[in-house]
């Protein structure tokens, strides 16, 4: 019998990857290429969209070859991508008009300031407050700053898309009949999609003066959009999701209250809130979790944390206190606790739930007693406490109790961090077997669309637990440490109205 697999392409920040999954959800092959990022000015972050496309054309055949398969074995392709990264390209030549502006780029401050008076309007329609984090201000910046693009956009000669749009257009023929679509999860991060109707808001398009002719058609996450003409010729493209929503799907968080956190450079906690949008008043982002034809869309509340693994990297590279990232745990275990020391890693402000772009990082509680071991503990604990803050905000916004937290990403190999996370959240922390949840989620959605898997229950049956950490911290210790963390955060924030949050958060 010929082996049938689902392919997933993940366009991440640092690499393009292709993975193949079998019916039991096991990874059969993987190939990846590193991707360059450039920062021509402070706060700018760019990538070459053509390089991304060329990398995809390389990793797909590499993955097939390593499993000794070809495209005839592939039943469907799913795509996951770094979100909010913005590409504008020429419909005729297929060439980008400028380098892609990635999600880490903060050049669009002036655009955001311009639309700030309409902030409530944006929030009412999209669920999001204008910020440099989202795609639309980048599109406006490109229209303003690349010569001739605005006029050509009005003629329908140039197209806008996030990375999945760019990839699908190229996979389906590019200038020769490529289809121009975006999925609802990526569209929900542009600042232009009406989160109720899942269509572009003509009001917001006109507020930003963006011609609708350049916008892709919004499609669901789980349906056959078209068939590849290149890279995987003949294979249906059957799913596209933003990477964090893909991870939520890959973790099989299909029910309200299911939550996952992916620990990489930053950390992204998404909680499934069900089929109704939950607006946030506590600093979270309402977002589309998953849509498919004929079923009600699922929504999520998201809390992005800017600095997680990157704090460990800073500790290694800039302070030089450890030789490898995992050795932070070795160093942390030289002491029994943090010695009263806390680190708030507000390197580029704080994201959820504080959203203070002017906040700056601090060490607090330094005494002559503190050793590098205590600092290592404080580094790891910072990631757990930031997660705790997002979990608290989610509970207040959505009134859904967190029963357990599913985790993935590189930092899940840190045993001390995972135990501390369970301790401060006071719920079990669960690591599944397939750690590549982003690619797995894209594969799951694509396989579902073509009937490779019958339903969500079949996907859930594939999921097995590789490790569980159970809470074991005394409540009074948790309370004391929470107070220490919140006091440190208050010192890092620029606003002065931080109330006494401790009692508020802990006296449920």
């Amino acid at each position: 019998m010929t082996q049938r697999v689902v392919a997933a392409i993940d366009l991440g920040t640092t690499s393009a990857r292709c993975m193949l999954f079998d019916q039991r959800g096991r990874m059969v092959a993987m190939a990846q290429r590193e991707q360059r990022q450039s920062s021509p000015r402070p706060g700018w972050a760019e990538q070459d969209a053509l390089e991304l496309w060329h990398n995809v054309r390389r990793v797909v055949p590499e993955a097939l070859r390593s499993a000794q398969l070809d495209e005839s074995n592939v039943v469907a392709l799913g795509i996951a991508n770094q979100r909010e990264t913005t590409v504008v390209w020429d419909r005729v030549t297929g060439r980008p008009v400028a380098r892609a502006i990635t999600w880490q780029d903060t050049r669009t401050g002036p655009v955001v300031d311009q639309i700030a008076p309409h902030g409530d309007e944006f929030q009412r329609i999209t669920g999001l407050k204008p910020a440099t984090y989202f795609a639309a201000p980048r599109l406006r910046w490109l229209l303003d700053n690349v010569r001739g693009v605005e006029a050509r956009a009005r003629n329908g000669d140039v197209l806008f898309g996030t990375l999945e749009s760019w990839l699908i257009w190229n996979l389906t023929g590019g200038p020769h009949g490529g289809i121009h679509v975006t999925d609802a999860t990526n569209a929900s991060r542009t600042l232009l999609m009406d989160i109720e109707t899942m269509q572009w808001s003509s009001k917001l398009l006109s507020l930003l003066d963006i011609p609708e002719t350049m916008m892709p058609r919004i499609v669901s996450n789980c349906e056959v959009y078209a068939t590849c003409t290149t890279a995987l010729p003949g294979v249906p493209i059957a799913a596209a999701l933003g990477d964090q929503q893909a991870a939520l799907f890959g973790q099989t968080c299909f029910s309200p209250g299911d939550a996952k956190c992916t620990y990489g450079t930053g950390a992204f906690l998404l909680t499934n809130v069900g089929t109704s949008i939950v607006q946030s008043t506590h600093g979270l982002l309402p977002t589309v979790a998953y849509t498919a034809p004929g079923v009600e869309p699922m929504f999520a509340l998201e809390g992005p944390i800017a600095v997680a693994g990157s704090l460990v990297r800073w500790f290694r590279d800039s302070l030089g206190l450890i030789a490898t990232a995992p050795q932070i745990e070795t160093l942390a275990r030289t002491v029994a606790d943090n010695g009263g020391c806390y680190i708030v890693p507000a390197f580029s402000g704080l994201y959820a739930p504080h959203w203070d772009s002017q906040a700056r990082g601090i060490f607090s509680g330094l005494t002559s007693y503190i050793t590098k071991g205590h600092l290592a503990r404080a580094v790891l604990e910072a990631t757990a406490w930031q997660t705790w803050e997002v979990v608290n905000a989610t509970r207040r916004d959505a009134d859904i109790p967190l029963l357990r937290l599913a985790v993935d990403g590189g930092m899940t190999s840190n045993h001390l961090l995972m135990q501390f996370l369970a301790d401060v959240l006071d719920v079990p922390v669960v690591r599944p077997f397939v750690s590549e949840t982003v690619s797995l989620g894209a594969a799951y959605a694509a396989g579902l669309a073509v009937g490779y898997w019958p339903d969500l229950a079949a996907l859930r049956a594939n999921r097995h637990v590789a490790a569980t950490w159970y809470p074991s911290m005394e409540p009074q210790v948790r309370r004391r440490e929470a107070a220490g963390w919140l006091a440190a955060v208050e010192r890092a924030l620029t606003r002065v109205d931080a109330p006494d949050l401790v009692g508020d958060l802990l006296d449920r």
Binding site: Q327, T330, G410
Partner: protein
Amino acid sequence: MSGAIQSIERAAAILELLQQSDRSLQLREISDHLQLSKATTHGIVRTLVSVGYIDQDPDSGAYASGLRTAGHAPAELDGNDLRSVAMPWADTLAAAAGLEVTMALLTGHEAELVHHVFRPDDSPQRLRVGHRIPLHATASGKLLLAYSPLRDRLLRNVSLDRYTRRTSTSRTTLTEDVDRIRRSGVAVSDREFEPELAAVAVPVHGRGRGSVAALAVLGPPEAVLDRSANPAPALLDELRHAAAGVIRALEPVR
């Protein structure tokens, strides 16, 4: 220099040679290089091994600089580095075998679990990272004992407590086991520590430094062993494949 002690000069030359070499060296290579007889070289090298200044690789017999010469940067495998590198391999192994997987390092007279992957059946299980297990009653422990540069001393001193009816408390049997493990590169335990569990362990080398970790699969005896209590052949292949993957993945970390 008058009054110089020749054997100390020679020992220093051997240490220098090993430190400058990017690989471990056989006795003959050392003696050729220093233009000494093999017997003389062997005497000095054995002395340096016994005081921990050089290590001998149990498989190849080759010599390399030991822990004592590494100063503040011990050449030991770091358990946390190991877990980070090994995680995908251990996950794949546990998923394919349908059994739980552990990794362990020698610490004093015990083995410490540095990684643990659950049996993929979603039954309630407890994470045992950080737990200590005895050397004489577990597959990982016996393997670490066999590959330790200090094995002779450990074989004399380790306490042989009884945990189950099947725990062997004979020092002679343990010594024979250790010799067999060094020849075959695989260790087995059968209900010797926990009454229901058998295990098979293979070594993961930290690049010729004498520092070794044990990668093990654990499960009911009928899933792990064949009828004659040897490792089930297919399982042993999977285990060795995973160990080779971890060893390759460790290279850039070192």
